[in-house]
């Protein structure tokens, strides 16, 4: 059982002061093995904070990120899954699932984690799964009118991934769960 925290688009301090307190109290150091971040933190303080929750932090560049050294995209393997990470402002039209599917094919990953729209999605298609953890702070978005703070926790166990999405709606944390299985005879790239 490997816990992977997926979050992004915090936009601190431009669009939000901080993560919601209810989220902060849930994100306890030492419980999570990997963090994958879609970008737009935007400042070093948030980077450092995330590192205290888990030192294995993977992050890609959002268009408002202060640190220009983050890569445009990244791939990594956890369990039997190959994950791809990209902020999403690079994929036009923004939020278009077919265009995202193309990126997924290009990167050759089972799970593509992407952001930018500040809208949680978990979309299963021919090539795999696209997951958007939304905005962890519920930051303003020009694309999405109604943003609730959200993040995703993936429990990866071999060929099975359970995706928990946590959303803060009207002050309460709501949880939902989606399961994905990868067939053992791998169709994706070696």
């Amino acid at each position: 059982m490997v816990l992977v925290l997926a979050l992004g688009d915090l936009h601190v301090p431009h669009r939000a002061a901080d993560l919601p307190p209810k989220f902060k109290s849930m994100l306890v150091p030492g419980k999570i093995q990997h963090i994958i971040c879609t970008g737009n933190l935007c400042i070093k303080e948030i980077h450092d904070y995330l590192k205290t929750i888990c030192p294995d932090l993977h992050i890609v560049r959002g268009e408002f990120d202060e640190d220009a050294r983050y890569p445009e995209n990244k791939t990594l393997t956890i369990g039997q899954f190959k994950l791809g990470l990209c902020h999403g402002h690079q994929v036009i039209p923004w939020g278009d699932l077919d265009s995202l599917a193309m990126l997924q094919r290009q990167l050759g990953v089972d799970i593509l984690v992407t952001g930018h729209t500040h809208q949680f999605t978990a979309y299963k298609h021919e090539g795999g799964v696209v997951i958007n953890p939304g905005s962890a702070t519920g930051a303003y978005s020009s694309i999405n009118q109604d943003v609730n703070p959200s993040f995703v926790l993936m429990d990866i166990d071999g060929f099975r991934a359970v995706v928990y999405v946590y959303e803060l709606i009207d002050g309460e944390v709501k949880v939902d769960k989606i399961e994905f299985k990868k067939p053992p005879t791998s169709n994706s790239a070696p």
Binding site: H11, V12, P13, H14, R15, A16, A17, D18, I43, K44, E45, E63, F64, H89, Q90, I92, P93, W94, D98, S99, A101, M102, R105, Q106, G108, E126, G127, A139, Y140, S142, I143, Q145, N187, S188, A189, P190
Partner: protein
């Protein structure tokens, strides 16, 4: 030298005591009263020495004291055998020297207190008088200490079994008071013994002995019958009389503190006048601050621990008394450094916050008094005072945990005026952090204005002095606080919120070039949120003069973002312009949308020259433009044309290719029929392919030494054709796709392209789509082909 001698004398004295004690004990065991007295007197003679330091004398005294315990028991037994006090007294007179005699008399006297042979009153009175005979400070002090110790459990005190009527209590009271008075006199006299060179040493020695004197006060506090009335009418006046009259700094300091610590808090409250009134009468060298602060602290804790007592504070007008007293002290001590007076006010402030937390007017008064004091000394230049003022200003902040309350204190900003720049900034940071930590919500433009005024040390540079020494990271962190703060400034009423935005902008724009890029974005997004809210409201409900219309706010934002261009932050400005354009689009403001794009484009052309930055900026432009629905056909055309032009002129060919095929999306809006131009989509893709061909040629020319990813570009293009095929673009023909696929196949045969997996996944996708029911497989029929690998 002297220390060694000291040890020697003590050793000798100890030995003598031990020896005499031994014989005394033997006499006691054989009921030999006379001998017991004789040896005890000899033993006590050791205490006549002048050779020991107070510290050593104390050791000797303790040893003797222990031995006297046995003697006391013996005397008690003697009384049981019928020996009267008068007889014992008589026998004791034979002891040669006065000191041993007095010790013995005290011992005997204390035994007889319990016997009721003679009245307690008389005994006590006699003893305390007799001790006058010893006027040597050290010896007298210890003698009287002995007297106090040996009578202690024989006085009617709280918790003792001894009953006493009113008279007995008064007599006990009188006894202790007198003993105390005499002891203090002796103690003070020690100050004047010896040469002036040894003053420091003497003071140190006196300090070692002070508890002997203080103990009396403790006994007084434990005496039964010492209620508020007696305390106020008898005890306190007598003690204070001695305190004032002794005119000794050491004694006064110590005893004042003792009084405060030893007697109950509600006594102090009720005698506040008296206590405060005595302060000016003390020696000038006495540190009144310590006395007052000690008193205030005790009373603060009292208020904190017993809510029922609070009304008493009001009743005795504690606040105004302290305020007045402190004012007097500060007035009197002209040389008091700023740090000192601020400390006093700090204690008063803490006291006020504890006791009268809901009386903001009192708090403000204290602040005002401090301001008056500071105005006399001018702007501070020493660290110590600055630290104290920061502590002073922090106190209400930490007490109320709510900046909005602080904003009501009219004197608060006036105190801050006296801080130097550095400290002012420190304080500003503390204030802002308080808002963030407590998540305080500030909801009116006036309060926002006041807050930014308070925090101006953080918001801007002072009068042209730019702080060049500051660490970059620290500076950014500080400004990030300000940015975060903006999100706590909020009102549901759009009109008020609009005012807040204007106010924030007013302050932020004074920040200077280094600050603007860090603070403007927060303002912009706060305004965009407001615009979104306004959008949902009625059309023009406020009339022409209203500030709160989307158009007006966007106009404001346009000017605000412009300020960023002046400070070399074009990338940020471009992004903000695009955000505003989207907001304008959502509000269906066509011209405004176009304006923002114009500004963004101009920045792209004129200011963004870094290749990598151009690629990202262009993507953002294309991405934003693709979503615009409000633009007229002409305007959209102009912007699209320019965007494709920029795309074709990016530096690196692969970047060009990608940007151009992304432009294809500008001609296709899924949900809008009249924004679908299949032909121009394909034109873009063809153009992109030509650029990919050029990349291919470059690879060939350099003899295939390194893959420039041209095959990957072809595969991406293929995917894009598929995308538009699926969307129903009739201009995407099967032939086009097939020939592209053919091209890819032939290229991959020549050399390792690195795009194998991409090709495979694309092929898989094609196959999958072909299997789909309905329209999708029909479309894919068009491109049925063989693919051998």
């Amino acid at each position: 030298m002297i220390a060694e001698d000291d040890e020697k004398w003590l050793a000798a004295a100890n030995a003598a005591v031990k020896q005499n004690a031994f014989y005394m004990q033997r006499a006691i065991d054989s009921n030999n009263l006379k001998d017991a007295l004789k040896f005890s007197a000899q033993m006590l003679s050791e205490l006549r020495t002048s050779k020991l330091s107070p510290h050593k004398y104390y050791e000797l005294y303790m040893r003797v004291f222990n031995e006297l315990g046995t003697l006391e028991i013996f005397f008690k037994e003697e009384t049981g055998r019928g020996c009267s006090i008068a007889e014992l007294y008589e026998l004791v007179q034979h002891a040669g020297n006065i000191l041993p005699r007095l010790y013995l008399l005290c011992t005997i006297g204390s035994v007889y207190i319990k016997s009721k042979d003679v009245t307690t009153t008389d005994i006590l009175k006699d003893l305390v008088e007799m001790c006058r005979a010893v006027q040597h400070p050290l010896r007298g002090l210890f003698l009287r200490s002995y007297l106090a110790q040996v009578t202690r459990d024989k006085l009617p005190s709280i918790g003792s079994e001894l009953e006493g009527d009113g008279d007995a209590q008064m007599n006990a009271l009188e006894f202790v008071l007198q003993n105390f008075t005499e002891m203090n006199k002796l103690w003070v006299r020690m100050q004047h013994q010896g040469s002036s060179r040894e003053k420091e040493k003497r003071e140190k020695e006196r300090n070692e002995l002070r508890d002997l004197v203080g103990k009396n006060l403790h006994v007084l506090s434990q005496l039964e019958g010492v209620d508020l009335g007696i305390y106020r009418d008898t005890v306190l006046p007598r003690i204070l009389e001695q305190v004032v009259n002794c005119k000794d700094e050491l004694a006064q300091c110590y005893l004042m503190d003792c009084i405060i610590q030893v007697f109950p808090d509600d006594f102090h409250l009720q005698t506040l006048d008296v206590l405060l009134g005595v302060c000016p009468q003390l020696q000038p060298s006495v540190d009144i601050k310590t006395v007052l602060s000690g008193l205030m602290e005790r009373l603060s804790n009292y208020a904190a621990s017993s809510v029922e007592a609070l009304p008493n504070f009001l009743q005795v007008e504690a606040f105004s008394k302290f305020n007045y007293a402190i004012g007097k002290v500060v007035e009197a001590q002209v040389d008091l450094p700023a740090a000192g007076s601020v400390t006093l006010y700090l204690f008063l402030l803490k006291f006020t916050l504890h006791v009268y937390s809901d009386r903001l007017d009192y708090v403000d008064q204290v602040l005002g008094s401090c301001v008056t004091q500071l105005s006399a000394t001018g702007k501070l230049c020493d660290d110590k005072a600055a630290k104290q003022i920061v502590a002073f200003l922090r106190a209400p902040l930490e007490k109320y945990n709510n900046v909005v309350t602080i904003l009501k204190l009219t004197n608060y900003p006036r105190v801050m005026e006296y801080l130097d720049h550095e400290t002012n900034k420190t304080m500003a940071i503390i204030i802002v952090q308080s808002v963030l930590k407590n998540n305080t919500h500030i909801s009116t433009a006036d309060e926002v204005d006041a807050l930014f005024e308070l925090a101006k040390g953080l918001i801007k540079d002072f009068d042209g002095t730019i702080d060049n020494e500051i660490d970059e990271e620290d500076f950014q962190e500080e400004q990030n606080f300000v940015a975060r703060l903006v999100h706590n400034l909020y009102n549901d009423d759009p009109e008020e919120m609009s005012k807040i935005i204007f106010t924030v902008r007013k302050h932020i724009l004074t920040g200077g070039p280094k600050r603007l890029p860090l603070t403007i974005p927060a303002l912009v997004f706060s305004a965009l949120k407001l615009i979104r809210r306004l959008r949902g409201g009625d059309e023009n409900p406020f009339g022409d003069d209203a500030s709160a219309t989307p158009k007006r706010i966007l106009q404001l934002l346009s000017e605000t973002v412009e300020a960023l261009s002046d400070v070399s932050a074009p990338d940020l400005a471009l992004r903000l312009y695009l955000q505003c354009a989207q907001a304008a689009n959502d509000c269906e403001l066509e011209t405004v949308t176009y304006e923002f794009f114009t500004k963004a484009y101009l920045l792209y052309e004129e200011e963004i020259s870094d290749s990598k930055a151009q690629v990202t900026a262009l993507r953002l432009i294309i991405g934003t433009l693709q979503r615009m629905r409000v633009l007229s056909v002409e305007n959209r055309d102009i912007l699209t044309h320019k965007a494709t032009g920029y795309s074709a002129r990016l530096l690196r060919k692969p970047d060009q290719c990608r940007a151009v095929y992304e432009c294809a999306h500008l001609f296709w809006a899924d949900e809008c029929e009249n924004l679908k131009d299949g032909e121009r989509v394909v034109l873009c893709l063809i153009r992109a392919q030509r650029i990919a061909d050029a990349v291919q040629n470059m690879t060939n020319a350099s003899r295939g030494t390194s893959s420039t990813g041209s095959v990957a570009l072809y595969v991406e293009l293929l995917n894009k054709y598929l995308y538009f095929l699926e969307k129903g673009n009739t201009k995407v023909t099967g032939d086009t796709i097939k020939s592209l696929a053919e091209l890819i196949r032939s290229e991959t045969k020549k050399v390792e392209s690195g795009a194998e997996s991409f090709i495979n996944s694309t092929l898989r996708y094609i196959e999958f789509q072909r299997q789909q029911d309905g329209g999708m497989s029909e479309k894919y029929e068009k491109i049925k082909m063989e693919w051998f690998e």
